[in-house]
């Protein structure tokens, strides 16, 4: 049975319940997977190709953004045969600069928008911001949902908001940030995921990185399961982006195990899975070098941009 997307479901009853204890047990079981040798190398490179290199600071500067773009294109000059990262994620003011710096590299520019990170702004301002980013050249828009409205139970508002932003995006890809640290319960995470996907999200994303906790494995698993159910119903493949808190290669591989065993190998692709992270890339590089040479090298050998 394929449900067409123009039917708007009842979001109060759409989402199946989530059992937190069961989710945590499942995560614990994923984490017993032992990834060695070639499969580890494969995973490290795959993870690197999925990184959205991110800088979202009040003190960002054109220089910093340029450095980040250069890092994205040349993660580690000493290594051959390593992938580029998937995208660079910046504030709207830096989209044009990033786009120019990255031109011809095949690396996407993502911009946060819609009054990131809190989402407290009038709808018109949010849509204007999205259009601005797209005009500046953003390939991907990372929006935030209005958590205040969601927690009020105003699910229709969230649906309309995501649908409006999607429209404003035009051909740019839309990632919807749920800010799961503020939604707090897994039932809420599941419901917000469903609403976002039905409203037109191309990706769903855990966090802004400004709220703790940011991405966690249980939250990510619940979102992956929501993506799976949406795919079963509609045949449409939605992407997933955990963001914030994924700092080392070991944890990144555990996320990939979850993706592989929950959604299958089709999702092991930067088009459908991303890591929002700033320091992960260097740890991945360090582990790749370690796998190749057998020895860890000092962090000083890896550029920090």
């Amino acid at each position: 049975m394929t449900q067409t997307l123009n039917e708007i479901p009842d979001f109060k009853t759409l989402s199946p319940r989530v059992d937190q204890v069961g989710v945590e047990e499942r995560v614990a079981r994923f984490n017993t997977r032992s990834i060695k040798k070639d499969s580890k190398m494969y995973a490290l490179k795959l993870a690197l190709s999925m990184v959205d290199l991110t800088t979202l600071e009040g003190m960002d500067s054109p220089g910093k953004v340029r450095q980040l773009c250069y890092k994205a294109m040349h993660p580690h000059e000493k290594l051959e045969d390593i992938p580029k990262v998937a995208a660079v994620c910046v504030y709207p003011s830096f989209v044009r600069l990033a786009k120019e710096t990255l031109s011809g590299s095949g690396i996407n520019v993502a911009s946060v928008a819609t009054a990131f990170p809190s989402g407290w702004a009038p709808m018109k301002a949010k849509l204007d911001e999205v259009r601005y980013c797209v005009d500046e050249g953003a390939d991907e828009i990372d929006m935030v949902i209005s958590r205040g409205e969601f927690l009020k139970g105003n699910y229709g508002y969230i649906y309309d908001e995501v649908a409006a932003v999607k429209e404003a995006c035009g051909s740019a890809h839309l990632k919807v940030i749920l800010e799961t640290g503020e939604l707090q319960t897994l039932d809420n995470v599941r419901r917000a995921s469903d609403i976002s996907m039905y409203a037109g999200a191309d990706f769903i994303k855990t966090s802004t990185g400004k709220i703790s906790p940011a991405a966690t494995q249980p939250v990510t698993l619940v979102m992956l399961e929501a993506i799976r159910d949406f795919y079963y119903k509609t045949g449409k493949k939605i992407g997933m982006k955990p963001a914030g808190g994924i700092r080392d290669a070991k944890l990144a591989i555990r996320y990939l195990v979850m993706v592989k065993e929950t959604l299958g190998i089709d999702w092991l692709d930067p088009d459908l899975f991303r890591f929002g992270a700033s320091s992960l890339a260097n740890d991945l590089l360090m582990q790749i070098v370690k796998q190749q040479t057998g020895a860890y090298q000092s962090l000083d050998y890896f550029s920090k941009d």
Binding site: P16, V18, D19, V21, E25, I35, K36, A43, G235, G264
Partner: protein, 493 residues
């Protein structure tokens, strides 16, 4: 031989190709196994009287691991005499506190040698190292720890009832959880002040014999714990030995009935943990993704060689197709293979005999018109294997729904109302366990209070704890193990 049900669903997930995990085997090189194992009687490894041995195999490779003594009537008699002597001379003279010290010591030594025990359990029985490492061995230690705590508190456990040990316990355990079953049997018996003669299953004696080494090192007085290895005939010698005061058996209902007959008219106390055909019930408001995981843990844990396995799945009609499709995709992601590989989800079938039993049931299911779905996972050439299997289009009158298969085979039926599912769930001669999945607390209590089963899990499955009693209704057994109930089975009042 099996026809696969044509699945008409368009949006299936793809689990083949791409990123595959490299083998990550636990190294068995540090594990020392002797070529030959004797009985463990009176604190010493003892040659069998008739000099006969049999081989125990690794079911994943069909290679011999060791030769093990085949127990005769004379061996059993020697073991029972040693146990009686150990009881009279040493164990009954020790204070509860001193008994506890020995039992704690055994528990700690199991923990210290956990890795070795886990590897041997997987080698000898075929279960994945993930389970022997994370479930069997830690739980075995936990049962010893738990019952050690009761040894000096029997008066408080059963106030004003003057608890006294029974004497010599004869214990016979199955091949599905060799070390853990030994712990379930030995720990409460020793804590209550009894001595034991225990026979491990003929296909999985090695961890018991390793436990014998620990018992030796722990310096337990001679004769307190004795192991006689062998097959059914040896077990029957234990059951019928006149100087046994208590018989504890875990195994099939068929053998359980024979034992029950044989102890009838004697003074022997009896506990039986027998077969099961548990209903796992999924209501339409259940957390479905977690329920699917629970279904998988319920039936595919330990290759389905679990007496309390959730082998009959009942799904409320509105979500039945959803659950079946999710289950089929989940089964595709299960890894079947080398039990010592840390990534293996489903290991080897315990023996060729059991493999034959399971295959007979699959054949039967097919002939009865069942729609059989098997995971497409690759299966090793050597060894005994069954891919995870789901059988639909079956009803209460199918033999595969009625009889215990003891393998990774799940039947799926649907229902519409709670009354209907209760009737179906209870419509079995067994009554060991059951599971209920729903988001609504009142439904849990309504359903579980009507299920005629000794253990019922809600929104989880196959969870064990030393403090919780475990045992069956109807033909699933007599008496309880675990908790205070399990202790009282080794006491007279």
């Amino acid at each position: 031989m099996l026809k696969e049900t044509e699945l008409k669903r368009p949006n299936r997930l793809n689990f083949t190709g791409g990123w595959n995990y490299d083998p990550a085997p636990e190294s068995a090189s540090n594990v020392k196994l002797k070529e030959t194992y004797q009985h463990f009687i009176n604190g010493k490894f003892t040659e069998p009287e008739e000099g006969k041995y049999f081989a125990t195999l690794n079911p994943a490779t069909e290679e011999k691991l060791a030769d093990v003594a085949d127990g005769s009537a004379a061996d059993v008699d020697a073991a029972v005499k040693a146990a009686r002597n150990g009881y009279n001379k040493y164990w009954s003279k020790l204070s509860g506190r001193d008994r506890a010290r020995y039992i704690y010591r055994i528990a700690r030594m199991i923990q210290e040698r956990a890795r070795e025990f886990a590897i041997i359990e997987s080698l000898d029985g075929g279960k994945p190292i993930r389970e022997s490492r994370d479930v069997d061995v830690p739980l075995s230690a936990a049962y010893f720890f738990y019952y050690a705590g009761w040894a000096d508190k029997l008066e408080y456990a059963f106030p004003n009832r003057n608890p006294k040990p029974v004497g010599v316990a004869g214990q016979i355990i199955p091949w599905n959880f060799p070390l853990m079953m030994a712990a379930w049997k030995i720990a409460p018996a020793l804590a209550a002040g009894n001595t034991v003669v225990l026979k491990p299953a003929e296909t999985t004696p090695l961890t018991c014999l390793k436990l014998a080494e620990i018992i030796q090192e722990a310096d337990l007085p001679p004769g307190v714990v004795n192991f006689v290895t062998g097959a059914g005939a040896t077990g029957s010698e234990i059951v019928s030995h006149p100087d046994i005061d208590k018989v504890a058996f875990t195994g099939s209902t068929k053998v359980g009935k024979m034992i029950h007959k044989s102890v009838a008219g004697t003074n022997k106390k009896l506990t039986l943990e027998l077969g099961g055909k548990a209903a796992n019930i999924v209501m339409d408001d259940a957390p479905l993704d977690q329920a699917v995981e629970g279904i998988v843990n319920g039936i595919f844990f330990n290759q389905g060689h679990v007496c309390c396995a959730g082998s009959r799945l009942f799904v409320q009609e509105g979500v039945a197709d959803t659950v079946r499709d999710k289950l089929i995709d989940r089964m595709e992601s299960l890894i079947v293979g080398d039990p010592l590989d840390k990534n293996t989800d489903i290991g080897a079938i315990n023996s060729q005999k059991q493999l034959q039993t399971i295959n007979n049931y699959l054949e039967l299911g097919l002939n009865e018109g069942g729609e059989i779905y098997q995971s497409s996972c690759p299966i090793p050439d050597k060894g005994y294997w069954v891919a995870p299997t789901l059988i639909g289009n079956v009803s209460q009158s199918h033999r595969i729904v009625q009889e215990e298969i003891f393998g990774p085979v799940l039947t799926i039926q649907t229902f519409r109302t709670p009354a209907e599912v209760i009737e179906k769930a209870n419509n079995t001669p067994y009554g060991l366990s059951g599971g209920v999945w729903t988001d609504k607390g009142s439904k849990i209590f309504n359903l579980t209070s009507q299920l005629r089963a000794g253990v019922v899990w809600a929104n989880t499955y196959n969870k064990f704890d030393p403090t919780s009693p475990f045992g069956g209704y109807k033909e699933s057994g007599i008496g309880r193990e675990g908790g205070l109930h399990g202790l009282s089975a080794y006491l007279k009042f």
